[in-house]
């Protein structure tokens, strides 16, 4: 864990571990929470096993869907752990940082009140992102769309 590069989220969720696991690994369930309302999600690939793909699209209007998630699972322990990265895409092709490479690890443990939920996201060196920004991260249509998609996502927070 590197506090300058990584983040953790720890929470007790008042639902059984199997329910949290299913919400992550059943495409129809993931679609219901992966992106914030009013956006909608479509899951194209959700193959939770090492090397499996994780591909979603999102839509602001329910009609036009744009690429959102394109990741590969690195490690999966049935019912308790999912690890995936955007450093390679779902076809194992090395991916451009968008906006920074990350590996996310989601861990579930039984807890008297439900499920202990722990997310650790390890990020690549932000210097690579700074270079990306110098190269024109904010120039042009695609980057603004990306920035807005991220803002929309972030807006779900109070």
């Amino acid at each position: 864990m590197n506090p300058d590069l990584d983040l953790t989220i720890e929470r007790v969720i008042r639902a059984p571990r199997t329910a949290v696991w299913d919400a992550w690994t059943d495409p129809r369930l993931l679609e219901q929470w992966w992106t914030p309302a009013p956006t909608s999600t479509r899951v194209d690939v959700l193959d939770p096993r090492p090397g499996g793909g994780f591909v979603t699209r999102m839509s602001e209007d329910g009609h036009t869907f744009v690429p959102h998630t394109d990741c590969a699972f690195l490690a999966v322990d049935e019912g308790s752990r999912l690890v995936f990265t955007n450093a390679i895409d779902s076809t194992w092709r090395p991916a451009p940082p968008a906006p920074v490479h990350m590996t996310a690890e989601v861990r579930l443990r039984d807890h008297p009140d439900g499920t202990e939920y722990l997310v650790t996201v390890r990020h690549g060196d932000p210097a690579s992102r700074a270079r990306h920004q110098e190269l024109g991260f904010f120039d042009g249509w695609g980057s603004v769309t990306e920035a807005l998609a991220r803002l929309t996502e972030a807006g779900a927070l109070r």
Partner: protein
């Protein structure tokens, strides 16, 4: 770290679908107010309110030339919001909030 006043203004400005569409459009390059208003079935005075909110947030600047007012995106205003670790944390907290709401809601009917 991000300046929360700027964040509040930018998030408020982007909380509206019309204004998000305008920002998307300006991602292609500057445009006049009447060009921007054209796709929306609303009156020009109503549309101008959106332009003023965007301008107040700093996300766009406007300049009058002759009878037309041209709007330009100021992407640097997104930078405090786009501070990458702040954004990533917000992303994951938002996801966790929604997952929690989803799974707890689904479990409630069962004792």
């Amino acid at each position: 770290m991000a300046n929360s006043g700027v964040l509040d203004g930018v998030f408020a400005a982007l909380a509206d679908p019309t204004r998000r569409a305008v920002v998307h459009r300006l991602g292609h390059g500057p445009a006049t107010v009447s060009e921007l208003a054209q796709p929306f079935g609303i009156t020009l005075p109503s549309f101008l309110k959106h332009v003023r909110v965007l301008e107040a947030s700093g996300l766009i600047s406007t300049a009058k030339s002759g009878r037309a007012r041209t709007c330009t995106l100021r992407p640097e205003q997104l930078e405090p919001v786009a501070d990458w670790l702040v954004t990533e944390r917000a992303l994951w907290q938002g996801r966790t909030d929604r997952l929690e709401a989803f799974v707890t809601h689904h479990q409630e009917p069962r004792p």
